[in-house]
Point group: D2
């Protein structure tokens, strides 16, 4: 089918490539020219402005937006909507908060433009293995885009989760679960490493766990790779970013009265990793000195 895309970062460029391999006609746009030209050599139709992007597609158009969530995505969608015609569709494939989807879909509907949210998992491996797609939107709109989704997804397909917002909602929860799983492994490896008298080989443990244990998973295969390359992770700082979906998952859990201790603590552990010192800990030290005369370490 005819596919437009704006945002050719790592994820967007790989999606475009996968579409090209799938035989689609792909019109590609990016803020800077480099990635556009690169994909043009791979067979894509280059568009150096949003006007060119929209003009190069036959109505009813479908344009994927694969940009950082928030302001950047918002501006791109507004600009696109101003150029598109009733019957066209915008697919937000980034990590947008689902409540923004609901608002946007409402706004675009008034102008006759359809909106679909696509949660996209698979990271840098999606190009080869296919992306796990969680899609939200009206059934007939999603159906019309199905050839594009089928090509992005692995053989067994993608999921139309439900109405607008549900795709990003499911992707958000996916990332919350991801935080919790990662932290579970991380705690386990730290406990094993701290039992120095056993001198355990974490790479071999990750490897054997991937053969028949209850905790085998793709993340554990990545851990196996990481320990193979750097058995004590000496080259890496224990500094961990978070990209927002974990925070939204917790906020959502709280709105829904669902206890989510594991996902929440996983986020807090990331906060710790980024703080050289905690003010809370200073308060504790001051209080211990106050009631028990326990010595404090001078700063």
């Amino acid at each position: 089918m005819d596919i437009g895309i704006t945002g050719l970062g790592r994820m967007g460029a790989n999606m475009a490539r996968r579409w090209l391999r799938g035989g689609h006609r792909v019109v590609v746009h990016n803020r800077s020219r480099g990635p556009v030209d690169e994909l043009a050599t791979a067979g894509a139709v280059p568009a150096y402005t949003l006007d060119e992007l929209v003009a190069a597609l036959k109505p009813p158009r479908a344009v994927w937006v694969m940009l950082p969530a928030g302001e950047v995505t918002e501006r791109a969608i507004v600009a696109l909507a101003n150029l598109m015609a009733p019957g066209d569709t915008i697919v937000d494939a980034g990590n947008t908060m689902y409540k923004d989807d609901l608002r946007r879909a409402e706004e675009l509907k008034a102008r006759g433009i359809y909106y679909v949210d696509q949660g996209t998992s698979g990271g840098i491996w999606g190009l080869e293995l296919g992306y796990c797609l969680m899609v939200g939107g009206d059934a007939d709109v999603v159906a019309r885009l199905e050839p594009a989704f089928r090509t992005l997804a692995p053989q067994d397909g993608y999921l139309h989760c439900g109405p607008v917002g549900s795709g990003h909602f499911v992707k958000m929860v996916h990332n919350g679960v991801e935080y919790g799983m990662m932290q579970a492994y991380a705690e386990g490896f730290e406990i094993m490493r701290s039992k120095t008298e056993f001198n355990l080989d974490l790479h071999k443990i990750a490897a054997v766990w991937n053969h028949g244990s209850v905790v085998r998973s793709w993340l554990l295969e990545l851990a196996e790779d990481a320990f193979r390359q750097d058995p004590h992770l000496e080259s890496i700082q224990g500094y961990v970013e978070d990209s927002g979906e974990g925070r939204w998952t917790i906020q959502t859990a709280i709105e829904l009265d669902v206890p989510a201790p594991v996902i929440t603590l996983s986020l807090f552990e990331r906060f710790h990793s980024r703080k050289p010192e905690s003010f809370a800990a200073k308060v504790l030290a001051a209080l211990r000195k106050g009631f028990g005369g326990h010595p404090v370490k001078p700063a």
Copy 2:
């Protein structure tokens, strides 16, 4: 090789079957006769007492103990040791606390008997897929038992983790990680189910996540199966046991000064699942009434 085993519960019986399929001579013992007779028909040598078990093996013997951790295992090992000779080996394949391994190995060493601890993961699927084995013990003793370990394990093998105790230690941490992963998924599914306006199909979500997402895993395949059979888990009470290794993992983390919030909270959530009401919550309700006049619900 010549293998003895006492304890023919689900796990023990399956291990014996896998050894038999692997061409070993297996002498089997159990407290009750039924499982012994059943395995005898599958080719095992039956032993109706521990004396018979030991007598039916050629020295140096190797006897696997696959019994509930604690008193039952302790008694069996003491009884076996009294019947065995210097150079023989006892393998504890259950879920023993690693500190008990250290003590026992010391006691048996004085009598010339070797001790090996085998952490065994894979559950009811181990018979077909092979067991993930984490083994602790002296290198030469473990090497002598290797044919038995190789047969139990999947194709890519088992792991000799380190000295006595290290096998059960790694298995203990494995179970702690398992708790955390399970709780991460459980929170995610509860959040999605609570977002009723999206009317999400948890079975399809588990399925699509197993195709290319970051959180794909064997546990998620089991979740996919569970939701296929009972989409809203209506037939199941939310009552969750724990078998001890999670507790020990937390205790160990605390001894090693390792923060393990995710594993710990996973255990506490299981405690909650087994309590119809919490006394702590009563205290909270009483305090809220005390300072703010907030009404309490009468019992």
Copy 3:
């Protein structure tokens, strides 16, 4: 001074009484007539509509709004602002989210009306002991209202925390801390009660802890009272509401990258208290059955 107040629930009525005792002229309004009439007999000027309330006050007026946070407060403030004149002041004494303060103050400023946020702690005891007041707003506006604040507060006064929003912000964090402290006590009492072989008397323990221990506090005095009245809290259900500030504290902590595990877990424990059964726990039970064949309890 001349004081207006709308909202004569438990907190509002007691504030009005304390002002009357302090010699202020207090004009009182409430949606229903009963509380207005009751306070009129105690010396207040009755106002049966907001028009009457505003008309009965000399400019520059100051009207306290003591209503449930959210829609109700919002509507009252909009209605008041439509009746008031430049130079007048609205004081929101409820539990408003501080971001709503910032927005409202901006909107009112355009009309020349001042806005002050007053966080109010002390519960039903404030009438006798004085309210702990945390006030946010422009310094000169707050200064003008000082006589009213001084009368509400205990002898040692109230705190002007900073600009608009800061009063409710500090009150919000106060409530988060309150959740954590309450949960700490609650866990301690549940642990002691569960150690049945010691047959501990929780009332006596609360009492002795209030004499010289590190954990003595006003909340513990309330616990002492509660256990005196009902030693095993048999008359109370372990069902615990939350009023919103705890949620906002956690949301704020997350926005500020501050780990707040204790406050967050305190909220999640309240969620648990209100759920007869957790879907997450059902997922866990289903998974345990899946990998280990562990029996589930039928629903």
Copy 4:
């Protein structure tokens, strides 16, 4: 009454002083001579060896042991027991694990020596304000020692909690609660400090909260003092020790199937305060790089 004490650290010396002020005859012993001589000048009977300590007391003797829990206390009690006679009593006033009390009482009973466990709270303030005492032991033995307990305690007394072990048990839980309360305050202060646009004065906030708020407490008075002396706690490192009772409280909660998330997370936050970097965080960083190509910070 006639009182012996060994262990004249800060707590022990202050207890001896309080007894002397109360008119008791106090025989004092310490490993080093200095504290013994110092208390002798205050009226105590000096004893430079345990033999002298026991010899200087009239049977039936009562000797308080106020030493670091664990080996040191164990050795002192064994040594004392070897010198004492049937009918004498040993009071362990330190922070002993209650299970050690149970064991020791059993051992001493066989020799006719009584054992009492005294949990002691109040820190460095106990000398002036009295110590909060939680006492475990046989009722008649405790009754005989009552004059000593009454003098140590504040006016309203001490608590005989129950049988041997119960005093230290209640003190252990007290410390667990203390951890949770401290962490609740610490989180609140860190959140407020991180809201830099409000430029909040934490000292004034602690002060106003101590006047009429729900969270007022003795710990908060200590926080008020600490912020008065060092408003931003600039002189203090956020490094927080823990003394053992918190760990035991968690272990006990787990043994009793009681969820104790707040107490447990409070301990884990202390672990974090003492770690410049977490291995778990390195694992997380490595995994994020693995699936998403997210950059890691080089070590």
